[in-house]
């Protein structure tokens, strides 16, 4: 059979067993790649818009990534459709919900490694100069500590505890 044009690369998506619709989308193929590509294109965007050095652009991406992922993974609690699942997750942040609360799964390990890699790239390309170094370190410290298994359902000083 002649190949008319390139055949696309197919992946199989088996329906995952996760009942929590807020997190089961993370089990599908392509999620990790999309995440990495988003970070890369954000870096390109920052570079092209501001014309700063690559290291400064990675710092900007790292800090924006810190703000966004902290807000959506570790601050916002519950699901966007609490009426459907009767609010059983309304006290859990997204990070505490994924993989059904199991710790140290592949997804969690991947999501913990990404801020560290971003930190290493940003610090290397800025030659470990202040003040970028300090800001990057704060970002990676907060993010990695928030993702540790010991911090599951912990609310320090009652910050972000339930209403």
């Amino acid at each position: 059979m002649g190949r008319r044009g390139k055949q696309p690369y197919y992946v199989e998506a088996a329906p995952p067993v996760d009942v929590n619709k807020n997190t089961e989308w993370f089990m599908y193929p392509g999620v990790w790649t999309t995440y990495i590509l988003l970070l890369f294109f954000a870096w390109l965007l920052v570079l092209s818009v501001s014309g700063c050095s690559p290291g400064a652009a990675w710092t900007v991406v790292n800090l924006a990534h810190f703000a966004i992922t902290y807000h959506f993974f570790h601050w916002k609690k519950g699901t966007p459709f609490a009426a459907d699942d009767q609010g059983i997750y309304s006290r859990l942040t997204w990070w505490e919900q994924i993989d059904n609360g199991q710790q140290l799964t592949r997804n969690r390990k991947f999501l913990t490694v990404v801020p560290v890699v971003l930190y290493l790239i940003a610090s290397h390309l800025t030659d470990y100069k202040q003040p970028m170094f300090f800001l990057n370190t704060v970002a990676v410290f907060v993010l990695v500590v928030a993702k540790l298994p010991n911090m599951h359902k912990v609310r320090i000083f009652g910050i972000n505890a339930d209403i």
């Binding site: 067993v17 459709f81 609490a82």
Partner: protein
């Protein structure tokens, strides 16, 4: 198990990310705008917290003209769809007085009983005149008519069980029965893609709920072994009882359940089985008796068989068929039987007549014809769609066929363009389906003629090209092949 191109997975995730980002942005600005607005509800708690209805406000409402379209005629193979307009970008919709005559590919009209039928409709009208539109009472007070008793016996006979009980609503049948069968200390193992009514009933029962991978008897066995060995959570006492809940045809996948293997596993571990045949009763099987007949399973092996009258019988309501003891127990404990108004008598008569037609007891062979027609129609439509290169789910003989769309923007594109070309399809998105796997679900009916199906295939093929959902290479049409051979 669906196969999709990798780039489609990436673009779908990116699209949802973009929609999510814009929704959050608009919410952020809305917070500022609302801060300055005077509020006279000080002291009251908000009805909805910000994140809870995010999906409805920022994603669903953008395309809400694709859902909930009102119709102005009986849901036959062609019907009138009311046109709606919006003046504020789909936040609210107003009905106009115009209707469009469209081909109906969305109604659960598997055997064509949804429109006026020469045997069923006169009898339904007669029962309306005799018994009036409502019994105005609950079953245990004054709401049991001769028709209800007749239908319960008929359903039991049709399905192959000793006894049956009726309910006025299909959803309620599941959500009110499961709490009566099992409670705290029991275990419910349900398929991961079960319908919301089953999930609701399972949650409401208070039993522990575990989920097994869709249609996988091997994983079911694994879950059963793990749970039986572990016992109840914390106390590790043995489970009071275990019920495994599966569906006959899964309405979002069009797949048949692997019933013989699942029943074998359940028998091995002495678990009860509950089969929800909402979409399969009356639509599959040699004589319309559902998946048990189609897959060669003895109805006595399934403990509880549930079904609805909305799909193949053109009525409303649901039933449970089981042993006489279980039905007797349900009649004394189920709140949907004790406190809910009984089924409307014309609806009961409609089901009685429909079952009689299917069984051939009305004196004609229209039932057998309808069953043969829906089988032919489904197989023809599915094979043609697959040949065109669409990703179509579901097994052969199943009248439900979802066409995968994936990207969120293709949902309104497909839906609106098909409506413009006078074909009405139902599109389903998150949260009824997994996030990545949005689809357009086609329900084939025995009342669709070959010309209707060819028209539908034409329109879907053109719209599919426009929208870009032909993810697989299309097979070349037969004529080109013949020409090729001739040249050689």
């Amino acid at each position: 198990m669906v196969r999709l191109p990798y780039t489609t997975a990436l673009t779908t995730l990116f699209s949802y990310g973009l929609l999510f980002a814009f929704g959050q942005l608009r919410d952020f600005f809305r917070k500022f705008v609302d801060w300055f607005k005077a509020k006279n509800v000080k002291g009251y708690a908000p009805i909805c917290l910000g994140l809870e209805d995010f999906y409805v406000r920022r994603l669903y409402l953008r395309i809400q003209d694709c859902f909930g379209r009102p119709i102005a005629s009986a849901p036959d193979s062609w019907f009138d769809v009311v046109e709606r307009i919006s003046n504020d970008n789909n936040k609210t919709l107003q009905r106009t007085s115009h209707t469009t005559r469209c081909l109906n590919l969305g109604s659960y009209n598997y055997l064509g009983f949804a429109a006026a039928d020469e045997y069923c409709t006169p009898r339904a009208i007669e029962s309306l005149k005799k018994y009036s539109a409502s019994t105005c009472s609950v079953r245990v007070d004054g709401g049991t008519t001769k028709l209800h008793a007749e239908l319960e016996e008929l359903v039991a006979r049709f399905v192959g069980k000793p006894a049956a009980i009726l309910f006025g609503m299909g959803y309620v049948t599941n959500s009110a029965i499961i709490p009566c069968l099992i409670g705290k200390g029991g275990l419910i193992i349900s398929d991961s893609l079960n319908h919301n009514s089953i999930v609701n009933g399972a949650r409401g029962s208070g039993a522990t709920v575990r989920v097994f991978q869709h249609n996988s008897p091997a994983h079911l066995e694994e879950v059963l072994r793990e749970q039986i060995a572990g016992g109840q959570p914390r106390t590790h006492r043995p489970w009071k009882k275990i019920i495994v809940i599966v569906e006959g045809i899964y309405s979002m996948e069009g797949e048949l359940c692997k019933l013989p293997e699942i029943i074998a596993v359940c028998k091995k571990y002495k678990a009860y089985t509950y089969l929800d045949e909402a979409h399969s009763i009356g639509a599959v099987g040699q004589s319309g008796r559902g998946v048990c007949e189609l897959l060669g399973v003895d109805p006595a092996d399934v403990d509880i068989m549930m079904g609805t009258f909305t799909k193949s019988f053109g009525s409303c309501g649901g039933y449970i068929a089981a042993s006489k003891d279980i039905i007797q127990h349900l009649k004394h404990t189920c709140p949907a039987h004790l406190y809910a108004t009984s089924m409307s008598p014309p609806a009961v008569q409609q089901v009685i007549s429909a079952i009689k037609v299917i069984l051939g007891e009305d004196g004609s062979n229209r039932g057998a014809q309808k069953l043969a027609r829906i089988r032919e129609n489904s197989n023809f439509f599915r094979s043609e769609l697959k040949k065109m290169g669409f990703e179509v789910l579901g097994d052969n003989d199943s009248p439900v066929m979802p066409i995968m769309l994936y990207n969120p923007a293709k949902i309104p594109a497909f839906s609106r363009e098909c409506l413009r070309q006078k074909v009405a399809v139902v599109t389903v998105a998150f949260p009824a389906t997994p996030l990545l796997l949005a689809r357009a679900r086609i329900c084939i009916s025995a009342s669709h003629t070959k010309e209707d199906l060819v028209t539908a295939l034409d329109v879907i093929s053109r719209v599919g090209d426009l929208v870009g959902i032909k993810y697989f290479p299309a097979e070349p049409p037969k004529i080109a092949e013949v020409g090729h051979n001739k040249l050689e």
